[in-house]
Chain length 825, copies 2
Amino acid sequence: MANVAKKVSWSGRDRDDDEDGRAGETTPLLNGSGPGAAGSGRQETEVPRQRPNEIPHNEKLLSLKYESLDYDNSENQLFLEEERRINHAAFRTVEIKRWVICAMIGILTGLVACFIDIVVENLAGLKYRVVKDNIDKFTTKGGLSFSLLLWATLNASVVMVGSLIVAFIEPVAAGSGIPQIKCYLNGVKIPHVVRLKTLVIKVCGVILSVVGGLAVGKEGPMIHSGSVIAAGISQGRSTSLKRDFKVGVELPGVQVPLCAVPTGDLASSLSSPGSCLSSSLCPTLKVPSLLFQIFEYFRRDTEKRDFVSAGAAAGVSAAFGAPVGGVLFSLEEGASFWNQFLTWRIFFASMISTFTLNSVLSVYHGNAWDLSSPGLINFGRFDNEKMGYTIQEIPIFIFMGVVGGILGALFNALNYWLTMFRIRYIHRPCLQVVEAMLVAAVTATVGFVMIYCSRDCQPIQGSSVAYPLQLFCADGEYNSMATAFFNTPEKSVVNLFHDPPGSYNPMTLGMFTLMYFFLACWTYGLTVSAGVFIPSLLIGAAWGRLFGISLSYLTKGSIWADPGKYALMGAAAQLGGIVRMTLSLTVIMMEATGNVTYGFPIMLVLMTAKIVGDYFVEGLYDMHIQLQSVPFLHWEAPVTSHSLTAREVMSTPVTCLRRIERVGTVVDILSDTSSNHNGFPVVESNPDTTQVAGLRGLILRSQLIVLLKHKVFVERANLSLVQRRLKLKDFRDAYPRFPPIQSIHVSQDERECMIDLSEFMNPSPYTVPQEASLPRVFKLFRALGLRHLVVVDNRNEVVGMVTRKDLARYRLGKEGLEELSLAQT
Amino acid sequence: MANVAKKVSWSGRDRDDDEDGRAGETTPLLNGSGPGAAGSGRQETEVPRQRPNEIPHNEKLLSLKYESLDYDNSENQLFLEEERRINHAAFRTVEIKRWVICAMIGILTGLVACFIDIVVENLAGLKYRVVKDNIDKFTTKGGLSFSLLLWATLNASVVMVGSLIVAFIEPVAAGSGIPQIKCYLNGVKIPHVVRLKTLVIKVCGVILSVVGGLAVGKEGPMIHSGSVIAAGISQGRSTSLKRDFKVGVELPGVQVPLCAVPTGDLASSLSSPGSCLSSSLCPTLKVPSLLFQIFEYFRRDTEKRDFVSAGAAAGVSAAFGAPVGGVLFSLEEGASFWNQFLTWRIFFASMISTFTLNSVLSVYHGNAWDLSSPGLINFGRFDNEKMGYTIQEIPIFIFMGVVGGILGALFNALNYWLTMFRIRYIHRPCLQVVEAMLVAAVTATVGFVMIYCSRDCQPIQGSSVAYPLQLFCADGEYNSMATAFFNTPEKSVVNLFHDPPGSYNPMTLGMFTLMYFFLACWTYGLTVSAGVFIPSLLIGAAWGRLFGISLSYLTKGSIWADPGKYALMGAAAQLGGIVRMTLSLTVIMMEATGNVTYGFPIMLVLMTAKIVGDYFVEGLYDMHIQLQSVPFLHWEAPVTSHSLTAREVMSTPVTCLRRIERVGTVVDILSDTSSNHNGFPVVESNPDTTQVAGLRGLILRSQLIVLLKHKVFVERANLSLVQRRLKLKDFRDAYPRFPPIQSIHVSQDERECMIDLSEFMNPSPYTVPQEASLPRVFKLFRALGLRHLVVVDNRNEVVGMVTRKDLARYRLGKEGLEELSLAQT
């Protein structure tokens, strides 16, 4: 029972379609839940569970287009044999390889960050010089509108290129990539997210958006870049480049007594590639010295995800010079099962990454060995002695946290409506490019108008402004508003933190905050690669400094001397209010300031901002994840979900396979496009016994496809013969892009062959009884990173299947537990 | 099968006993594994699995005396009903309570740390003054042996008191407590470890050992203290004080439709306390407005352990002023399932703890609001500009890591032999006290002799020595060796880090390192409360500084200017070589120095020290855990254990109970002292059907005891009647010290009653099939923090039980996988 689901497009035009198609992993189709009916391969229609009143782009919807990653190793016989063959020394080799890969991830991430930094610095410098010279020229001559035109055109054309490559080549490279990496670490497979092509587009896109003068940062995308690098290196090949960088390690040959292996009904041995028939000799077999590829062992979701965690941490570390913050980010956003060794490796990658960046940038900046640039952004040194805080200031910090929470919630709410608008009306790539260009031009115009209107002149002497624009100021002075726009946002943040009191006019700051707030909000979600960290920090630093100045003014300058401290707290509050991270963000801020003393107030500010912000609306990343209807699993099941049991949550009935199954049935089940299941419980194969047929194992679609591709089956008449034996390598070589079933030709004769799944299935899948409560199922699922969880009855018969989507459907809404609808968006 | 185990004492005198008794959780006795035999209550003997050739105090032994904690909620009907009754708002209240408790943990831990610090400072100051005055007197008069006598006697008598209270009142308060807390967080219940009495003894003991001049620190014990505080506060009562600090919160009354609850064969309702018989009316029942106690909800292992994590983190935070390091310590040593909310709470407690300490100590030291003392030990400020490092120094740091690893391994190896000696010969409390006094006297003597022999005089002007001892130095000079002994070790560490070059004579440093190394090694493991962090740092700082001086000398003082930097690296290397922490220790060192720049070299040093040290011998804490034969579960199963399956690992046969069981049978099973199981699978109760009887649930000893105590059963003849209904509160009130079965009187008539377990058992225990490999079982067990894991066959029949000891038995030794023996030590 499961209707053939109508394809519902992303664009919102199919709103008349009021039936939800339940398919994918979520609705294992009926194919007979008992052993007798298992071979039928029929399809029936299912009564839709619930009819959503509004179809796409509704946040109460869960998309079925996302697959899950599988953090649980399929412990089939092949796997166990390999593991048993590897001795202690070989395991040590694997461990060393992991460390080497982590070091490489760190080095490459650091180098990519350096590349971005250096290119951006040079290109942006070039642009500022051109514009400044032009403005200088026209200030005296009159006709500044030409300058505006030049500036806007320059920005728009640079951003156009950046937007074009993203929109037309790799849309997943848009934005900061943090929501995507969060999803990946959570166990959701976002298509293309860790491909080399994505990395190239991301890096170019970030450079172009920053150079194009958008209100964006280059830090967030580093996290995505690090993750792609990690995925690429750990797999040792790039499918984008169609290359497998084979690096081999010799393992000694071993004697494998094949007959001792329990193989179920069919004896099995290594046989020559062919069709069904093969010989059945099985004495001890000498496996010839094994070419154990350096990367092959890591070709599975478990290992890949571990490395991606390391890559994300390395990215944070390179971006902010915060190795510990990077580790905590990875753990806070990703890992569920905390493993000490994994954490050390992640930490190692982070350290290497910031060290590489530091070395290279130090050399580039000419002060070779002093290691003074640990990250893409350094907040500069906050000196303890001058800038401590006192207990009386703590209520003020908390108040700033409240402000940050409210402003952050406002930012997110505005961005939410904007995103809804974009999903509905700006979904064509060319429109997206036009919007990006428009934003670039408007950003330039706003900047120009503000500079033009500003009468805030500061003496040029003693200041460290890179491109001082005189405009209408007296000689020897410069326009201080211009510095805010003639600077990468990173530098503006640092200036706000460290410029001596009196550098900024309160009015300038106020105007700047206001305009930048709306610009940044408009910019986030454009089809360009760009991050929201730096704009948030900049907004916060601006109003924080304004706050500090006001405080100093109100109290007649008694103890509130340094506005830089308040700029820092404001930056923390604003960023916290928008992204709602606490522990990792505290540590990142601590490391970026190089100051441990501020840890306590920063923590207070971030927590307050989070609590206040959460009262109104979700964090920006979570909001975008939800708008994409991703089946994201939070840390715990919704608190009031104890009333639900596995029975109510599971998808049922389930397509089961028999242990020895007809090839035709397998092909039919896999070809069923309306269901597209990925995991199939394997049940006892003897249909003529009255004995209870319990669950025997679980086999994945990808495994079945590899089996069919290699024609691993025997003729029905010759069941006693031995089917071809595969190696784990055959499965790993196909990872992660398994061919579709349509590409595999199975002849009519072959359809009548039988396939023995015993040695390929996972004989010990995790199960839960029907009575288990949702939180219990959730905990098991989340703690072990499962993809399929079989629900069994008292006699171990399969009654249902729980997948990620079944759990992600239940959410805590404003009025208690709510159930999301599923759609084929 | 299971022999009546001979009690093997701790002292090693029963070495002729060559049979190991397998009991406790590990060997659920045969009591019929099928449903038919379930009620028999017989005991049979078991063939011992393996005969150990040496019985106690062999590290290849696993003790059966340690129980497990249960991180898995027993989701029985009572629990689910409570959870369902609590609405979203009430959950929010619970969450707020958790935060409040964490804040209280932080505050109290900070205050305890302040108390220790202030008392130690005053008492130690008093002692140094007395001894200094005495030495000054006798230096001129002659007869310095009187001074020695005074000093040694003073030390020995102070230490005697400290040792007496530990040895006779609470032996678990000995040492730093870190191994014990590691075990607790790992899930092993160490008796008395989180009791109030332990805290009091710990605090007094630490003060007395530090004042007594032993080579110990007061930092490690803070971790234990914080944990005890956390356990005490979260439970809202102290069994030591026999007080329940009842704080109530009113919840509105609700209507509970009792008949809708599926109760199995027996209908159930709330009935008056009495014996078997009661009425069977069950319309909707109005639960009167519930007095929901603030702490009652947290009375279970899961919640308590979460709070203890927070307490441990708060302890680290107070000790080193390292809140992030505290969080990482807790996670590195304890938590397996990383939960974001829990981590935030832990972080919050840590921050509050260091903030409290900082405020109070700042006020105490007179500089009220400047918050300059974040921890018990502050390494002082390492200034970036003066003390950066260059890339060329990195190989040198790595070399220091190697040295630290070797010295650490030597320390651990010596301490291992010493501990073996102590276990064999110094097991009587009075002997332990004598040993502690001896060490105290020897420490004083060594100090005295070294001061006496030293001719290292430094000018008194410009130095910040608290108790300058002139001895044989010229006027205006002081004996620099004396400062090392006339100081708490914390101050000596800071002096080694920050004293200007030339403050120390290389010979003095060398002698000091050597003597202190052996003294610290002898001291660790004494029956006094004391930590090993500071002595390790001190040894390392001494040889590190020596190394720096030598380097400066060898290279004719070119770039190796500051020995303080090398002292820091040496301290890190030595501590890392002894305790083998990496991530958390790096962060602790970073936070304690207030310097992020040194992160990278410290990480390198710690990793090198760990790798080198691990090559020789385990870390100190792990070594002591192993010497106590604690069933400690590491992060992963041994790498070569894929060849083992659940079938081989599990204990079998298992004592099963029927769903409706005879009271006499239950009492007999519980009274069986030779087995002493804690979890019993519940199977289908109908013995006369031929139908397969699968697993239905799991019930704990503690639950059965509460049921028997409240006489929850009905007469056999009146099975249709309703048994008394208990509330979850009845179980929680008994937590954690459930009465022994012997204290519950069950009359002969009552023995014939029947008890229905359906609503008390956990109906969905986690299970694994027999074919699951050991790593798979291990992962499930560890990730979910289980205590019992039922092994079932294809038809869901119980075939075995896996407990912590079954998994902890397998260990990776030098020659591959080894199996530990079990003993009743």
